[in-house]
Amino acid sequence: MNRYDSSLQSSTSSATPTPSTEDALYEKSHKIYPREVHGLFATARVAAATILLGIFYLLPWVQWDGRQAVLFDLPARKFYLFGLTLWPQDFLYLTFLLMLAAYALFFFTALAGRLWCGYACPQTVWTESFLWIERKIEGTRQQQMKLDRAPMSLRKFRLKATKHAIWIAFSLFTGFMFVSYFTPARELAVRLAGFALGPWETFWLFFYGFATYGNAGFMREQVCKYMCPYARFQSAMFDNDTLVISYDTKRGDPRGSRRSNVDPKQQGLGDCINCTMCVQVCPTGIDIRDGLQYDCIGCAACIDVCDDVMDKMNYPRGLIRYTTQHELEGGKTQVFRPRILVYGAILIALCGLFAWRLSQRVAVGLDVLHDRNQLYREAAGKIENVYLLKVINKDDATHRYTLAVGGIDGIALAEPNPVIEAASGAVVSVPIAVRAAESALPSSSTPVQFSITAEDDPTLTVSTEAKFLGPAK
């Protein structure tokens, strides 16, 4: 049960509802000063942050075929993803990618809890970077708290000004790199150096920079608590076999300080020495010993610091550890359970479908619209229908296409071989008339197939069905 539930229960059980101002959810927020921590998970977190920030800051500089490898070229309405070029007509693929990402999140949450929050979320990663800068300038947790309590002095002003200047510079650089995903980075850098950025690029640079500065410098854990929808609904994906970070109450309680040479059992104490280190390192300011809480982002800082303390006390490690509810209750963790299998199957199916769709993707599109003014007319002793073809060239080169029509015996174009030429990314409208003998029409509305094929590349072909209308039978 998380704190959200428990506060609900405790307040419903009390006879006179009073505002529980002591409850963390409603507490006026205080600045949290997380203590620096070292250890296995801290190393993993730094590694994850380095890799993710590295990708974010370096990817726009990578070239591919003489252009930026990953570029969401909004002005030109084209998205480049390495060898792939997506047009607005391919919006489906992006939707698909988002769905894949969502399902992957569900799957990993059910399996391993809040891995995303603790290691990969941009909010966590940038907050960690900002905390690192803060520590380099203002010093340790104690030094920071002392500095904030102290009245304004020249030294305090100097430290704060330096910190904010570095934060702002870092934020603006982040904003610049963000804009680089939408306008080519090299070009943008040249224009920035010449103070020739466009107004909209400037706006987004400052917007994203400001958001980074605010979210990573000030909002921090409040983003997770109040702004993040995922933090609120992730408990729906949890079960008793989900990996969570938990304090082993059975082993740790009763808590209390003791001399290192006494056997705690004799004093009636558990293994927790109540040093509060786990609380001091927590970036969201909770006490993990209160049980699973929705404020816990699963960063494992408390595991690292508690293991250190256990080492010093010569107790076994793992008083706070990655575990599952089942294991804590003395059972065994079931990894392959229905929820995991279902999430996993959906994820694999979606991945397969996406790969298949992508492999089937043809860089040409064809829409066929029937003329709205006239259903059909008689011409040269035959029935004639008029259509407007819309040909979309999604390839990177200009192509000429040949048109073929079929599906009805003896159907033919009124004027053979229309010229269909489309530049890269262009949509060309071609009006055409098609004729068929009335005797060949089985009904007043007969399916007819149009297909176009690039003259220079037979694999660039697409077929679309439309209706051929004739007199009522």
């Binding site: 959200y4 506060s7 609900l8 307040s11 419903t12 509802p17 009073t18 505002p19 529980s20 101002t21 959810l25 409603y26 927020s29 909004l74 002005p75 309405r77 607005p88 919006f91 992006l94 939408f182 306008t183 466009g198 107004p199 909209w200 690029e201 706006f203 987004w204 909002m219 409040q222 608590k225 109040y226 702004m227 929808p229």
Partner: protein, 100 residues
Amino acid sequence: MPLWDKTGWIPAPQRVAAVLWITFLMAGIATGAFFSAIDPQELKYCVSFPEVSRLGAYTIGFLLFWLLSASSALIAVFFVYPAPPAAAASGLSDQPADPR
């Protein structure tokens, strides 16, 4: 029963987030869907608007979507609180109640 009925108060960051942040995400989705179907360069024939680049049109579109969804969220958050007489009678307001 909503949680705030017991406390009579939603923390300010939560109210701000409910109005600005969620609608920011929604405006992003709406902008993506709208402009993938409609090229702003084609809109200039039917909308009399000063000449702007595509990037400018996207930005203006995004801000308008944001303004629209944020206004409705703002009103929704406002209406989530009981009307003044009821609020006064039950001691609910948009401020933390006096613990006495």
